[in-house]
Symmetry: C2
Subunit: 339 residues, 2 copies
């Protein structure tokens, strides 16, 4: 067997020479095997193996004007829920021969625009974004590019193109409905003051809407003076809650991290959960439950969003029409022991 030297990139021409055919025939043997005589094909396949030949998709892409590349831009991978989306996406796309180009914007719209620009330079066949907040320049770039775009984790009013997500508003309302169904009547919402926390904002609106619908008194809202609420904010949240709305019997937290903190704070202070105070969260973060924090929460599958976004994109890339531009993957209310 011939040994390919280190660093020696083989070209189609080399394979052709070795198989005693023209370069064009090699190309055909690789792309449309049944249009090549079996014997010829066999020789070519052998030559490919002997030389460890790997076709140059860059050159191929230039010729076909299709890169078989999909750019995926997420805010961060640290959040395992986005990681799941990316993983689902890569899997679905890989099966159809698409590769994923990854970018992390770090929650900055400006960075996202830069990443979009950089990605577009690679001539991807499609693009996937998280969220529906983009700079005007980014929107224009995407429009001009003419490739299918999927926005994820949100149900935009004016989607750029396609979208796969769920309704934070509906989910917020549904959770309140569930809590109410358990008999609680003085339900508070614990959120943050972050200006651009649209998701939290929508959840809160869902809370208000359902409260109004159920006719369960005025909203009891607690707004923590932090940008991102987490497990460490539990004690402060509990203090504030008991101070401002002492008769509250259930707290719906804008994220599970906060709910976890609240529950831990309750344990420390001897506040019975859910006896004295029921606690619900949002997000179903991975380890809270196994770690013994049995939080009633709203769950959305990141993997499902990724898978669906991939499928939608593939449909488009095949040239088929997509019936609904905006797809709602829904959510589940997970009832555990905290409420």
């Amino acid at each position: 067997m011939a040994t390919a030297l280190s660093g020696t990139r083989q070209r189609m021409e080399d394979v052709a020479r070795r198989a005693g055919v023209s370069q064009m025939t090699v190309s055909r043997a690789l792309r449309t095997p049944d249009k090549v005589a079996p014997g010829t094909r066999a020789r070519i396949v052998a030559a490919v193996a002997e030389l460890d030949y790997v076709p140059d998709l860059v050159a191929g892409g230039l010729a076909t004007k299709r890169s078989r590349l999909v750019a995926v831009i997420v805010s961060t991978l640290e959040n395992s829920i986005f990681a799941a989306t990316v993983e689902g996406l890569t899997r679905v796309l890989r099966d159809e021969g698409y590769a994923v180009l990854l970018g992390a914007s770090g929650y900055s719209r400006g960075t996202e625009e830069e990443l979009i620009r950089a990605a577009l330079g690679r001539r991807p066949d499609g693009l996937v974004l998280t969220g529906d907040l983009h700079t005007p320049a980014a929107r224009r770039l995407l429009q001009v590019s003419g490739i299918p775009v999927v926005e994820t984790w949100e149900l935009p009013e004016a989607p750029l193109d396609l979208a796969v997500g769920f309704s934070n508003h509906q989910a917020g309302a549904a959770m309140v409905h569930t809590i109410h169904g358990c008999g609680y009547r003085r339900i508070a919402f614990v959120g943050t003051a972050a200006e651009d926390d649209r998701r939290g904002h929508l959840r809160r609106e869902g809370y208000r809407a359902m409260l109004a619908e159920l006719g369960t008194g005025p909203p009891r809202e607690l707004t923590l003076p932090v940008t991102v609420a987490g497990i460490t904010d539990g004690p402060v949240a509990l203090d504030a809650l008991l101070a401002t709305h002492p008769d509250t019997d259930a707290a719906f937290c804008v994220v599970d991290g906060l709910a976890a903190g609240l529950i831990l704070a309750c344990r420390r202070r001897g506040v019975d959960v859910p006896g004295r105070l029921a606690v619900a969260g949002f997000g179903d973060f991975d380890l809270a439950q196994p770690a013994g924090l049995d939080i009633t929460t709203v769950r959305v599958s990141g993997l499902e969003i990724g898978n669906f976004a991939g499928t939608l994109l593939l449909t488009r890339l095949r040239g088929e029409r997509v019936a609904n531009a905006v797809h709602d993957v829904g959510f589940s209310i997970i009832r555990r022991s905290s409420a």
Copy 2:
């Protein structure tokens, strides 16, 4: 201002026409601005902006034979520790104009080989892998490709090229040393029977080596009949431990998930931690601690591995030499209340 039509991809030629220069001059204005007359340059820059022109890096790459692409193949992103590595990598590489091509092998060497083959077809300038276990064909492909390769999370004896990781053996030994330093003398190791769990195996060897060094009696090893030990294996592990080595005073678990399970099992059975049994883990998984499981553990920074791998790769891509092919990022022992 001219409006670029949707789907109208602009070429350099279009920009050139608009600026009244040759295409070559546009190329120069973009890549080596100071080799173009200021006036000309200004007209070109204007034309670029007006047309929303984004250079085609695919075509450029074909011409220069440099793709400015780095392929990253991880086993999974679900594990947030790898996600951090990928995020660090993308950040470091992006700053130098490199994009990241992502693949998830799902812990299969065969899939990894496929992904490597697919990635190589994109002619990346570099490649990053997790682990040091690859099929022979994969190794050959990588050798032939002639591009720099970084293996991460491991310190391979025979690296393909470069490597960034830490020593599981050393870390295992260090943890035993720490536990011993706290006064415990009957230290057990709780691991799995998985054939290919090399990391766990190395940790166990570290455990044995340190035990021998300290002269602290014969090893007390518990091997769970599972492939991946997790939080649900706690009760079984505790039973087995108390049955086989009833006088054990400290348990070093091969992963934090298992340690968490063990601690929860202890709580349920009224076994005092660390009074009756100290428990230590490995990995410092994100939520155990905030969730109230205060596990003494070994911590390795995924972000640091990613950052360093990126830096190493960039050095190589710049054509500079790298002094040490294998880089050890080390680990930290985090002492918390469980031991």
